[in-house]
Every structure is written in C-alpha cells, then in structure tokens.
C-alpha cells in the first residue's frame, strides 16, 4: 500500500505538489490523472525516494522507500523508458537489478518472456524503440514480483497491440490482489482500465473516488427527456432548480437533477413523458470539468491538454 501524507514539493516559489493525502488500495487499478505539469511524475518520484519532499511523506507499506531493504520485492516502478544505460543489453540491465535485491537471476529470463523481449535480450538498450524501452522498464518493475506496481504513462510509445497488452497486464496484476498505480493522460485508456481515480491539478487533490462516482458526479451527467409539451416541462424543471437545454422539438437535456426528481416534477405538472433516460458523461468530459480551473499549460479557451508526458527532463 502506498500512503501519501500531506505530501508537498516546492521548487523555489513554485508549489508542484501541494499537501497531497491519498491511500492507494490493493486489488485495484488506481488511475492517476491530471493536466501536464500537475505534479504526477513528481509525486511518483517522491514515492521512490528520487525527489525529497519539502513537507509531508510518501510511505510504502508504512515506511519511507529509502528504508526498504528489498524495495523491488515491495514495489515495482516504471518511471520512464529512459532509466536504462543505452550501452547495456536488456539482460545485463535486468541482471544487475536482480542482483541488487538478491533476486534469483532466473527471474530475468522469466520477465523478459513476460514482456516479449526474449528475442532481443542481448541487444543493447540504446537500439530499442520507445515501445521496447517501455517493455524493458515494465520487465524491471515485475522482476521482484512486488505487491505494488507504479507505472508512469506506460502506454506511451506502444503500438495498439502493446496498449492492449499493458491493459490486460494491469487488470491481471490487480486481480491478483496487487496495488496498481498508473498515471496517464489518455482518458479513454483510464476508462477501460482503472477502478479508482486520483485526479490532481496544480499539485492539489481534486478527486479521489471510484471511476463511476467521478462520472456520476459530473454536472455533464444528464438526463434525456422527450415530451409532447416541452415548454411547460422546461418551465417546471427550471422552477425546481434544474438546468435545461433544448434539443430539437420535443427533447430536453436536464442536468442537476435525478431521473426520480424529473419524473416527479413531470407527474405533478401532469406532463406526459415519452422518454426518460440517463446520459452519462464520458470520463473525458468529467475530467475536463474537474480540471478546467487547473490547466497550467492549456490553450486559453480551455481546450484539451496537449498530448505528451508531463516529465520535466532532468538528467
């Protein structure tokens, strides 16, 4: 289990991570979402003890990462595909990792098989494509058979086949009872893989809830109503404090009210309904709404955040 307690990181005057407190539960895929520069990568780096928190703490199984004697057996992490020396072969890279944590060297062959790199195990990592680099990073994360896995943008650079593979891998790791913490900027990806969402913006926690709750809570989650007397019903719904949007002749899109309440209003007004159906917001819509006020590098109109990682390159 990963626990963040008031985790804060400041670079000079700039607060990158701001009093973040989250517990990540086992047996679930927790998606970590936020606009570029929201502090996702910095948070993950603090969990691994690469960056030192300005205040607060990040704990792995109740202890700071630096105190773990065999960290790879507790938590496996893929931060980026570039944490490999380009002059070493995949096998040499993984063998060194295994030895550092007293893991049997036969695990190297096993994880290479798992990620599908057996054929290129003795090639130097500098020749690898981004996708192969990601697979090598994931192999390293799996090496210690850890209970917690943390992936930063794991589908970056993977082809559709690779994306499907990693989706299945994360689901099966969670099904085995492990904690899976994965950041992504691809909402559709999260919608299909994550159970729980942690959303941050400008370093602050915006939401920490099951994915279904995040979608339901969105004001964009609406109810579609069709009625032969739309004007009258619209009037009554507005009086009841709901927001109504007219679509075509007899269709209303109602937000801010449940189906029960809308049905009740219609019944009282004596208006017949031809349709009363839920219209869920997509995760993308819910997310955009949540983070609208905290997009740091977004277009002025509040357009979608640019694709890409939020890693500030630091060598």
């Amino acid at each position: 289990m990963i626990s963040l307690r008031n985790l804060t990181k400041r670079y000079g005057d700039k607060v990158v991570v701001d009093r973040l407190s989250v517990d990540l539960a086992p047996g679930k895929v927790t998606g970590f979402l936020g606009p570029n520069g929201a502090g996702k990568s910095t948070t993950m780096r603090m969990v691994l003890g690469l960056d030192r928190p300005t205040a607060g703490e990040a704990l792995v199984d109740g202890r700071p990462y630096a105190e773990l004697r065999h960290p790879m057996r507790r938590i496996g992490a893929l931060l980026d595909a570039k944490a490999v020396h380009s002059g070493r072969t995949a096998r040499n890279h993984l063998t060194a990792m295994a030895r550092s944590n007293g893991l049997p060297v036969r695990r190297v062959g096993e994880v290479l098989e798992t990620v599908g790199l057996t054929g290129v195990a003795d090639q130097r990592a500098g020749k690898f494509s981004l996708g192969m680099g990601q697979r090598l990073g994931i192999a390293g994360a799996l090496l210690g058979d850890p209970e917690i896995l943390m992936f930063d943008e794991p589908v970056n650079g993977l082809d559709p086949d690779g994306v499907r593979w990693i989706r299945g891998l994360m689901r099966s790791l969670a099904a085995e009872g492990r904690t899976v913490f994965v950041s992504s900027h691809l909402m559709s990806e999260m919608q299909t893989t994550a159970d729980q969402l942690v959303v941050i913006g400008k370093g602050r926690l915006i939401a920490d809830a099951p994915i279904s709750e995040v979608i339901e809570a969105s004001s964009l989650t609406a109810v579609r109503v069709r009625t032969p007397r739309p004007d009258e019903l619209e009037q009554q719904l507005l009086v009841a404090g709901m927001r109504v949007e007219r679509h075509g002749g007899d269709e209303l899109i109602v937000t801010g009210g449940t189906m029960d309440r809308i049905g009740g209003v219609a019944h009282q007004a004596g208006v017949r309904l031809n349709e009363l159906s839920p219209r869920a917001a997509s995760l993308e819509q819910a997310y955009m709404e949540l983070t609208a006020s905290s997009v740091e590098f977004g277009a002025p109109s509040g357009a979608a955040p640019a694709e890409g990682t939020d890693d500030r390159e630091r060598v």
Binding site: D51, M72, R73, H85, R88, A96, S100, G177
Partner: protein
C-alpha cells in the same frame, strides 16, 4: 482475499540484497559496458607503450645505466592515467547521462550503500588495472634496457603496487568528483586540471607556497608511490595524502547525492 506475492512464492525472501547485492549489481553493470573494457585496455596499453618509448629514448641516450626498474612509472602514467580516470568517471556520470541512475537509486535506495558499492567495485578494478599497467612498464623497460637497468624485487613490486595504488587513488577521487558534478565532461575537465594542468602551471609560476601546496596534490603523490621518490615525502605519506584527497572528494560526492534530488 487474493494471495500475496510472498505466499505465492512460498518463501520468506528476506535474504540477499543489502551491500553485497549492491556490489554485485555494480560489478554486473561495470563489465556489461564496452567502454569499461576499452578504457582499461587503453590504460594498460598506453602505460606499457609509453614505458617502451621512454626506454628506447634512454637507450639511445645511454642514460639507462643504474636506473631502477620503477623509475619510468611516473612518466609512463602521465597520459594513460586519463583512460583510468575516464572509466572511473563513467561509473557514475554515464548513469546520469543515460538516466540509468534512476534505476540505480530505486533498486538501491540507501545512498551510502550506492556509494560504498561503487567504491568497492572501482577500488578492486582500478587497483588491478594499475598493477597490470605497472607490470607493463616493467615489461617495456625489460624488453629494451633490461640489461643495464636494476630489476630488484623491491623495485618491481614498488612499480606494480605503486601504480595500482595510484590508479586506485585517482579513480576514487574521480568518482567523488563525478558524484558531485554529474556530467562526464565536467568531471573529466576537473580531473584533467587537477592531474595535469595545475602541476604544469605551478611549475611555471614558481611561487614557493604554491609549489608546496601543489606538491601535496594527487598527481604529485604519484611520484612517491610509483617511482619511489623520497622528496618531498616518501611513498607512505604519498599514499596517505592520496587517500585523503579521495576521501574528501567522496565525502563531497556522497553529500551531494544524499541531499539533491536525483
């Protein structure tokens, strides 16, 4: 409730890792790089080659008579030491340049353990390389002026162990610099300055205080360690001085590693 990884494995897995694991990992990484083989090979060949050239020059001038076998040690490593220094630097700066340092620090999170493991691996490697380079000096000298030079066991031993000790010292000094500076170019520039430029400049300046200080810096300890010079100090003091410089650089490097974000 799903089974945990520990239960699945059916073994407690509390052994292994720690400092021995970190050393094993560093050893694996060091020898998994072509640059290591290249640098160390060049260090040995260049040392032996320089000794051979120097011997030929001595023979031509007829000045080899009565010289001891280890007299060529200092000259022979003037250039070749930088191949050793490059290997020492790459042990850490190569990781910063490629991003591999993030893997090193996540697999071995205790910073002191990382430094100790690198020190252990580099100490063994640089000492061994220095001994082989020292032997190459003896071989080069023996091949050309073997008949007129003095090859007593003490001289031979001094040359071999002295070069080993000198390479060990400057390698650990460089490792400390690398931890502090992080970049390969920066580390090598400083090492080049300390080992070559500063002694040359001080000779030109000729100020007594400056000379006295420079006499106690790493490159000048080499003369006492390898060639058996007794002025201004013998090999024992030279070894202590070089160890102190290495310890100073490593302490600064460790502090930087422990304090700064990776």
């Amino acid at each position: 409730m799903a089974t945990t990884a520990q239960e699945r494995r059916g073994e407690p897995q509390q052994s292994g890792g720690g400092l021995p694991g970190a050393i094993a990992a560093e050893w694996t990484k060091l020898w998994g790089l072509r640059s290591t083989w290249l640098c160390l090979g060049v260090a040995v060949l260049l040392t032996g080659g320089t000794a051979l050239l120097a011997s030929l020059a001595l023979q031509a001038n007829g000045t080899a008579d009565g010289m001891t076998a280890n007299a060529l040690g200092y000259t022979s490593t003037l250039l070749s030491q930088f191949a050793m220094v490059a290997a020492a630097s790459l042990l850490i700066t190569g990781e910063y340049a490629t991003g591999a340092v993030r893997t090193t620090l996540t697999t071995v999170p205790a910073r002191a353990r990382v430094v100790l493991a690198k020190v252990a691996v580099l100490a063994v490697t640089s000492f061994a390389t220095g001994c082989v380079a020292g032997a190459a000096v003896i071989a080069g000298a023996a091949a050309v002026v073997g008949d007129v030079m003095e090859f007593e066991a003490a001289h031979v031993l001094h040359e071999i162990a002295g070069t080993g000790g000198y390479f060990l010292g400057i390698s650990l000094f460089t490792l400390g610099l690398g931890l502090l500076v992080r970049s390969t170019a920066g580390t090598l520039s400083i090492a080049f300055g300390v080992l070559l430029a500063i002694p040359s400049i001080s000779q030109i300046v000729g100020n007594e205080t400056v000379t006295a200080f420079v006499d106690h810096t790493p490159p000048m300890t080499g003369a006492s360690l390898m060639s058996g010079a007794t002025e201004p100090y013998g090999w024992g003091t030279g070894a202590l001085l070089l160890a102190a410089w290495a310890a100073l650089a490593l302490a600064a490097g460790y502090t930087a590693l422990a304090r700064r974000d990776a």
